[in-house]
Symmetry: C2
């Protein structure tokens, strides 16, 4: 007996589907060459491709779109029990989104190195996130910290809140 | 003369607005106690509060919602020239989203420490992103790397692509 969760074997056909979404996306002109899908219990429950330029949404990466689609389809904000298949290693935004969505496992095809060869460089972002706030190129300044506690106090006092 | 960009002084009223959005959001029952807005050229161009639980979207943090709203309002995927005001230090997903959106500067009120006192702990996520892939709690496995190059090859060959 084992208390370890049983990890599904990687599904190559789902990865081929994610890659096909990425390649098709270039021809469709919707955005970058990235595709992703969410699978659960042997079935695809959400798909997405990068639509940053087509929808004027800088957060519309393939993984984020696939997570949104799956959560909408399943009617839940938790994708625990789901796996993410993505045509390329997730950027920090998409990786953190996968954590927030409670995804169980990630499968990816291209490496960040491959993406860099095609003009995409997520390595810079990973480097920024490793730094302390004051050392980053995007400046961040704190103000009104005391006043802002009111928001958390309201949350703590709420009897109807839904933790996530 | 200086070649440094002129940084606007922090606008306390905009931060009070972000805090108000956060506090109101608890009463509205839309999600966590977080609010944010995007400002440009002296005006607010987009607002957002956390709607994770109300919209079943684990990516719908206040900053992401504000970025989406501002990009939609301005009709562009680049928020260069814009500033982000947020009631709390951005999580890694939202910080990376601000980079992708080309935001100029971030102003925040509560610290991650304050958020932790209210039951939110983004520190774990920052720790995960600092780790190498194999050391993270969310397992990531590579497969079909060679096949996936086709997507990037299509992007490189495309004469109609829009870089972002």
């Amino acid at each position: 007996m084992t208390s370890q969760p049983i990890r599904n074997a990687p599904n190559q056909e789902w990865m081929r589907r994610a890659i096909a979404l990425a390649t098709e996306n270039v021809a469709l002109g919707n955005g970058g060459p990235f595709g992703a899908l969410i699978a659960r219990n042997g079935a695809i429950v959400g798909e997405g491709a990068n639509t940053v330029t087509a929808t004027n949404d800088p957060t519309a990466h393939a993984e984020v779109n696939a997570i949104r689609a799956a959560a909408r389809a399943l009617g839940t904000f938790s994708l625990a029990g789901c796996e993410l298949y993505t045509s390329c290693e997730p950027c920090p935004m998409c990786l953190a989104a996968a954590y927030w969505a409670r995804i169980d496992a990630i499968y990816y095809a291209s490496s960040a190195v491959d993406a860099a060869r095609a003009g995409f460089d997520d390595a810079f972002l990973y480097g920024e996130l490793r730094k302390d706030s004051h050392a980053r190129t995007l400046p961040a300044t704190q103000l009104l910290r005391e006043e802002a506690w009111a928001s958390f106090a309201a949350w703590i006092a709420s009897t109807t809140k839904i933790p996530y």
